[in-house]
Amino acid sequence: MTDKPIIKVVNLVKKFGNFVANDHLNFNVYEGEIFGFLGANGAGKTTAIRILCGLSHPTSGELEVAGFDVYKQSEQIKKNIGYMSQKFSLYENLTLRENIRFYAGIYGLSKKEINIRMDNLLENLHIGHLRDQLIGSLPLGWKQKLAFSVAIFHQPKIVFLDEPTGGVDPITRRQFWDMIYQAAKDGITIFVTTHYMDEAEYCDRVSIMVDGRIEALDSPAGLKQHYHAENMDEVFLKLARAS
C-alpha cells in the first residue's frame, strides 16, 4: 500500500428523486490497498460502487478513478477497472473458456495473451478439468471465484467487488479472500463491499456507511480501539444503533 490515492471522492451526492442514497461522501482509496466498504442493506454501498464504475451518474461531487475524471473520462476508467456485481454475471450457457475468451476479447487482449493467461489461471486454481464445463453446471462457490477471476483477467488497476461472497459457505469465503489477497499482492487495488463483519477484519481500511453517510473510516484495529469494541461486529452495531 502506498500513499498515492487511486480513487478520490469529494462530496459525492446521489439522489433518486427525494431519496438521498449517497449523502456527501468523502474518501480516498490508496494504491494497492484492500478497501472495505461496509454497511447494512440499503445503506448506499451499491449506489456508490456503481457510480465509481461508471454504471451510474452522480448527482454532484468530484470523483477521480485511476487518475481519470468520472464525468468526462468514464471510458478511460473502464479500461482500468474490473467489476464483479452482486448479480452473478458470467454466461451460464457458455463454458468457462468461452466466458473468459469473450470478456478478455472485449478488453482487447490478443489471442495469444488470452491463452497464456487462461492456462495460468486454470493451473493456479487447479481447475483444468472445469475448462469446458458450462458455468451454469458449477456450484455457486466456484461461480463466484470464477467471476472474480474473470473480473481481474485483464489485469486492471482497481477491481470493484460488490458483495462477492453473498450466499457461499465459510470455507469458500476463506478461499475467496485468499484470491483477493493474491490479487492485492499482484498490485491490484481492491474495493470491496460486504456486510460480513469478519471479512472487514481482512481489509487494510474500512469505511462504515449508515443511511447514505460514511460514519467511520479507519483500519479495523483503529476502529475497534476508537469504539472500545472487541470486534468489528460490535463497532458496526454501535454505529448502526447510534443513527
Binding site: 456503481r50 461508471g54 454504471l55 473502464k78 454475471s89 458470467l90 450457457n93 475468451r101 472485449i106 482487447g108
Partner: protein, 372 residues
C-alpha cells in the same frame, strides 16, 4: 473489429447451444410457410347456393342447371319458402339465395323483362363481391342464350358482340400461391430476425450480464453491431432457405436477379433488426418487448399490402406506409421475383430503406446506455 467478432462468436455459440431455440428458428418458419401459403387464398372454390323457385318452369330449371354446371356453385337446397332460405343463410349453410318469381318463363317468352332476386351473404365483402360477379356472369350467359333462341324464331340475325380476350401478365395462371409466398416469406424472416434481436439485449438485462459488458470499454456501436450481425446472418439464411422451399414445393417463378433480391433483403433486414434492437434498448424486460413488437409487427404487416393492395388504401394509410419497412420489401420482392424488375425499377425503395436503416441503427446505438 475484433471486439465485434468476439460478440458475434459468443452469440452464435449461445444460439446453437440452445436446444429449444434452434428448432424454433429452423422448423417453425417452414411449417408456417407451407401451411400459410396453402391457407391464405382468395380463390373462390365453393359457393353454396339455395334456390327459391316459384316458377317451376322449363326456363327456370334451365337457369338452375346453368348454375349447377358452373364449377363455382354448389346447389345446397331447393325450397319454396323464403323463410327457410333465410334460415340457411343465417346458419351459414348457404352463401347466396336466388329467388325466381312465378311469372319468370311467361314474361321471358312474351318478350318482357323478368327480374330475379339474388341475396348474397356479404359478411366478407370481398367474397360477396366475387359471388356476385360469378353469378352475374352465369345469368348474363343464360340471358344471351334465351335472347338468341327467341330472336332466331322470328328472323335470323347475327348478334354482334365485342369479344374481350384477356392476357394475364406475370402470373398467367392467376396462381394465388405465387402471389402469397413471397409476402409470407417476408413476414417470417422479419419475425424471426427481429424477435431474436429484440429479445436478446433485454435478456442480458434480465440476467444482469449486461452490467458486466457495460463496465468494459466496449463502444456502443460495437455492441449494437455485434448484436445485429448474428441475427442478420440467420435471417438471410432463413430467406435463402425459404426461397429454395418455394421453388421446390410451389415452383415460384424467379424471373429477376437473385443478387439484387438478396441485396435488397439485406438492407431491409438491417431496418427490421435495428428496429428490434432499438425496442430492446428501451425496454426493461421481455414482456415489454413482446408487446411493443407485437404492436409494430401487426400494424406493419396488415398495412404492408400482403393481402390488400396498398394503392386501394386511404391516402393517410399510404402515407403511414412510408415508415413501414414491410411495405417496401413486399412490393419489391414481388416485382423482382414475378416481373423481373431491375435495379432502376426498385432504386427508390432501395435508397429509401438504406436511409431508413442508417437512421434506425444510429438511433439504436444512441439509445443504448452504458449507464443506468
Amino acid at each position: 473489429m475484433r471486439t465485434i467478432g468476439y460478440i458475434i462468436q459468443k452469440e452464435f455459440i449461445q444460439i446453437f447451444r440452445d436446444k429449444t431455440m434452434l428448432p424454433i428458428i429452423i422448423i417453425m418458419p417452414f411449417v408456417q410457410l407451407i401451411v400459410l401459403v396453402y391457407a391464405a387464398t382468395f380463390e373462390m372454390k365453393q359457393i353454396d347456393m339455395v334456390v327459391v323457385d316459384q316458377d317451376l318452369s322449363t326456363t327456370s330449371r334451365q337457369l338452375i342447371s346453368k348454375f349447377q354446371g358452373s364449377p363455382f356453385f354448389v346447389l345446397e337446397g331447393n325450397t319454396f319458402s323464403m323463410d327457410e332460405a333465410e334460415d340457411m343463410i343465417k346458419s351459414d349453410k348457404a352463401d347466396i339465395v336466388m329467388v325466381i318469381p312465378n311469372d319468370f318463363q311467361k314474361k321471358l317468352m312474351s318478350g318482357e323483362t323478368s327480374a330475379i332476386q339474388l341475396i348474397v351473404n356479404a359478411i366478407n365483402a370481398t367474397a360477396a363481391g366475387l359471388t356476385n360477379a360469378y353469378s352475374s356472369y352465369v345469368i348474363a350467359d343464360f340471358n344471351k342464350n334465351i335472347l338468341t333462341e327467341n330472336i332466331n324464331f322470328i328472323q335470323p340475325i347475327q348478334t354482334r358482340s365485342i369479344d374481350v380476350s384477356y392476357s394475364y401478365w406475370y402470373n398467367p395462371e392467376l396462381n394465388y400461391k405465387i402471389y402469397m409466398l413471397p409476402g409470407i416469406l417476408v413476414i417470417l424472416v422479419t419475425i424471426i430476425g427481429a424477435f431474436l434481436a429484440a429479445l436478446n439485449i433485454v435478456r442480458e438485462k434480465e440476467m444482469g450480464t449486461i452490467e458486466q459488458i457495460n463496465v468494459t470499454p466496449i463502444q456502443k456501436y460495437q455492441f449494437i453491431t455485434g448484436k445485429l450481425l448474428p441475427f442478420w446472418i440467420i435471417a438471410m439464411a432463413e430467406f435463402a432457405f425459404g426461397l429454395t422451399l418455394g421453388k421446390l414445393l410451389f415452383d415460384i417463378p424467379i424471373v429477376g436477379n437473385l443478387g439484387l433480391l438478396f441485396g435488397f433483403a439485406g438492407v431491409y433486414l438491417l431496418v427490421a433488426l435495428s428496429l428490434g434492437l432499438l425496442i430492446s434498448t428501451m425496454a426493461s424486460n421481455q414482456q415489454q418487448v413482446m408487446f411493443i413488437m407485437f404492436f409494430f409487427l401487426l400494424t406493419f404487416i396488415l398495412m404492408s399490402g400482403i393481402f390488400t393492395p396498398v394503392e386501394s388504401m386511404p391516402d393517410w394509410a399510404q402515407k403511414v406506409n412510408i415508415i413501414n419497412p414491410f411495405a417496401y420489401f413486399m412490393r419489391v420482392i414481388r416485382m423482382v421475383l414475378l416481373k423481373g424488375s431491375g435495379f432502376s425499377d426498385i432504386s427508390y425503395e432501395f435508397y429509401s430503406l438504406l436511409i431508413y436503416a442508417s437512421l434506425i441503427f444510429s438511433l439504436a446505438v444512441w439509445r443504448y446506455r452504458k449507464t443506468a
